[in-house]
Amino acid sequence: MMKHRGIAFKLIVLVMASVSVIFLAIFGYNYFYSRSLIVKHVEENAKNLARATVNRIDEVLLSIEQIPRNAACYLEITPHSASELEVLLGSLVSNNSEICGAAIAFEPYAFDVNTQRHAPYFYKDKSGGLLFADLGTDQYGYFFQDWYQIPKELEEPVWSEPYYDEGGGNIVMSTYSVPFFKREGNRRHLAGIITADISLSWLRSIVSSIRIGETGYGFVITRNGTFVAHPDSTLIMNETLFSLAEAHSDANLRKTGRDMIHGKSGFVPFRSTMTEKMCWMVYAPLKSSGWSIGVLFPQDELMADITRMNRTVILIGVVGFFFLFTVVILIAGTITKPLRLLAATARSIATGDLDIDVPTVATGDEVGELAHSFDHMKNSLKQYINDLTETTAAKERIESELKIAHDIQMGILPKVFPPFPDMPEFDLHALIEPAREVGGDLYDFFFLDDEHLCFHVGDVSGKGVPASLFMAITRTLIKTKAEKGITPEEILERVNRDLSIDNPSLLFVTLFLGILNIRTGELRYCNGGHNPPYLVRADGNAATLAMSGGMALGVMEDFVYQSKTVTLSEGDTIVVYTDGVTEAMNEKMDLFSDSRLEEAIMSLRSVPVQGLIEGILEKVKEFCHDVEQTDDITMLVIRFNG
C-alpha cells in the first residue's frame, strides 16, 4: 500500500496512525481507570447506604419484635384470665405507636378446656382509637392462617409475608408472631401465638426516601421475593422479583433474586425493570425479617461526569487530530515541495539542460543543503562539460592531424601491385596493416638498375609521430643512398650514419635490406637487427636466412655492417616481416610466434604471393580474434621465377 506513495502520504499515514494509537491507549486507560475508580466509589457508597437503610429498618423491626417476645415470656410464666389478657393486649397496642394490632391466639382448648378457640385481638382504627375483635370465630378459622400456622409448625417467631389490611385501604401490614409454650414437668407444648401487627407504610417511606440521582431507587422484597416497597406501586404485593424475571425472560434477575431471598448481600450490575437502565445494585438482608433490600444506582447518571469528561477528551482528541493532520500536511508539503522541484530540475538536467535554475530553498535544513549541493553539482557539471568540450575539440584536432600524418606516411609506401607487371622474373607483394596508433613500420622496393631490385622492410622503435617521422626519414635516406652498384651493407652503413647523427629522441630502426639480381637470382642482403626473413625453396624447404649480424640503425654511428649472399632458384620465395606478425597477441596473451608463422608460410607456399600474404594476415587475425592490434603488421614477399 505504502510502496509507491509519496513521502507526504507516508508521513501523514504513519504519524496519524501512531498518534491515533497513542490517543486511544491514553483514552482507554483513562476511561477504564476512572470508571473503575467510580465503580469502587459507588460500591463503597452503595454498601454504606444499604447498611444504613438496613439498620434503620431493623432498628424498628427488632424493637417491635421485643414487645411480643417479652409478652410471650410473661404469658409462659403465669396463668391469666381473659380480662387480664385483654388488658395486656390493649396496653400493648395503645402504648406502642408502631404496633397497629395485636392478638393472643390459643391452641385448641389451651386457654379453656371448654373453648376450642380463644383469640382476643386489639387494633387501632384509622383515627387511632382502640378496638376489640374476637378472632376465634368459625368463619375466620385462625388455626389455618399463616400468622398462626407457620410459627406453630416451626415453633419459633416469624414475620409474616406482608398482606393488605382487610379493612384499612391500601395499608400493607406484616405480623410478627411469637409462639408461647406451656410447661408440664419437663415437657413443654405450644400454648398459643402472640402477634404484633405493624403497618409497613413507614418502611415504604424509608425506602422511597432513597433517591440516587434522577432515577436511582430502593426496593424491598420479602422472603418470597414479593415487593413490599418499590417506586412502582403496581408491583407491591403483586409481583415477585421472579415473576418480573419471568416476564422479562431475565435469568440473571432470577439468579440475583434467589441470592437476595437466601439472605446474601452483594453488588451486581442490574438492569432496572422499571427504567430499563443499566444500574449497579447493592442488596442486603434485613436481620429481623429476612427480607432483602435492594438499591439501584443508575450507571449512566453516576457515569455522567466521566462521560462528560470522556466526551471532552474525545473532542480534544478529534480537534487535535485534525490540527496535527494539517500541521503534518504542511510540514510534509514544505519538505516535499522543494524535493519535487529538485526532482523536476534533475530530470531537466538529465536531458542536458544545464542552464536551468536550481530552485532556491531557504529553509537551511537538509533539503536546503541538498538544493545547495545540487546547484553546486550542476555548476561543476556545467564547468566539466565545458572543459570536456574544449579538450575533446583539441584532441579531435590532434587526432585529425595525426591521421593526416599517418595517411601521408602510408601514402609514401608503394601500393600498386603487382608493381612490375612486365617483369616475369619475379613476383612481389607487400602489405602494411597499420595499428590504430601511428606506427613506424616501413617497406619499399625499387630497381637500382635494370637487373638489381632493392627491397627492404623496417621497423622503427616506439610509436606515434616521432616513429612515423623517423620512418619517413629512414625510407627517404635509403632511397637517397641506394644508387647503382652499391651494396646492401654500404646502404645500411650510410643510412645508419645519417640516422645516428642528430638523433635526440634516441630512436632506432631495425632494417632488412636485400638486393636481388633478377637475372641470376643472386640475393645480397644485410640485416640491421631485424627479424630474419624466411627463404622457402621451391622444393618445400624453408629456413630463415642466415644472419649477417648487424645491429639496429640509429644506435651506433660507426657500426660496420656485413652482407651475405644467397642464390635463389626458380620458385624460391623470400618472406620478410616485422615483429608485428610474430608478436601479435591473442586474448590469452599468447604470441603468434615464429613457429605459427613458419607453419602458415609452409601451408601457403604454393599459392601466389598476394594470396600468401593475405593468407598469413588472415591466420594472424584469426589467432588474435577480437584483441586489438597493437603494432603494425608488415610483410613483403618476393618469389623468384628464374
Binding site: 399463616d146 416451626l154 418470597n224 414479593t226 415473576s243 432470577r254
Partner: protein, 329 residues
Amino acid sequence: MKRSKIALIVGTAIFFAFMLPCAAVSGMPLLKTSFIPQWVPQAQFAGYYLALEKGIYRKHGIDLTIIPGGPANPPSDLLEKGGADFATLWLSTGIQLRARGVRVVNIAQMVRRSALMLIAKKSGGILRPRDVNGKKVGLWGPLFQIQPQAFFEKYDLDVTVVPQSFSVNLFLRDGVDVASAMWYNEYHTILNCGLDPEELTTFFFHEHGLNFPEDGIYVLEDTFLKNPELCRAFVAASIEGWFYAFEHPDETIAMVMRNLEEAHIPATAVHQKWMLERMKDLMLSDSTEDRSVGMLLPDEYHRVAMGLKSGGLIDTVPSFTSFYRGCFE
C-alpha cells in the same frame, strides 16, 4: 359446464357459511341464561369469558350473563337455588352434590386431567413417593384430600396431615415438608417465590393412577330435560371459546388481566399465562384416545365416586347415566 358446477358448490358453501349463524341469531330469539365459574375470573376460566367477549355465545343463540365466582359465591349453592343456570364444578363436587340429592347433571367434562399435585423440596430428602413417609403434608379441604389419601394408601405412607390454607407460605417457610398444589396455580406461585423446578419433587396424581377429572359444566337435571338444545349450544360455544383462547394466548391474557383488575384481584400476567398454558395441557392432553373435550368416561367417574365413598364423603354412588349427559358433538 365444469366451471358453473364449481361456482354452484362455492356459492352454496358461502350461503351456508353466512346463513347458519344468521339463522341462529335471527331465526330465533336469544335465550337468556347465566353461568358461574367456581372461582375468580382467572385464566382457569378464560374460555368462557372469551366466548362471551367474542360473541360466541350469541352466535350460538345464547344471551349469557357470567356471575363472578369466588369465595363469597359457591357455585353449587347458586346452581341448587336457581341463581345460575350453568356452573363449573369439580367432578368430585358434582358427584357429592348429586349424592346429596341435588339433581345436577354433568353436561361436559372440560378438564379431564387432574391438576392436583403434591410438591416437596428435594433439599428435604424427598425424591420418591416413599420418601414422603413420616413427613408433614399440607392438605386442603376434604374434596382435595381424596387423591392424597389414596396416594398415601397406595404407597403405604404414614404422614402427618397439616391443614393447608390458600397460601403456600407454610411450605415455603418449611412449616410442612409436602404441600398440595394445583399445577396451574400454586406450583407456579412457588416457582415465582424463587424455588427452581430442579429443586422440587412433584407428584402428579394422574401419574400415579389417581387421575380425577376436575372442571366440568353442570346444570340442574330439569334445565337439561327442558332445554337440551340450550345445553348443547352452551357447551359448543364454551368449547369454541376455549379453542379460541388457546389459539390467541396474548389476547386472552390481556382479557383475563382486564377482568381481574376490574374485580380488584391482584394478578400478574406471567402467572395467568402459565395458567392458560397449563389449562391447554390439561384439556387437550388425552387427544390420543378417542375422546374429545367434554367427554367423561365411566371408569373415571367410578374412580372418583368410589374415592368419595371410601373417604366417607358420599354414602351412595349416583348412577353414571343419570349423572352424565354429555352435550357435545
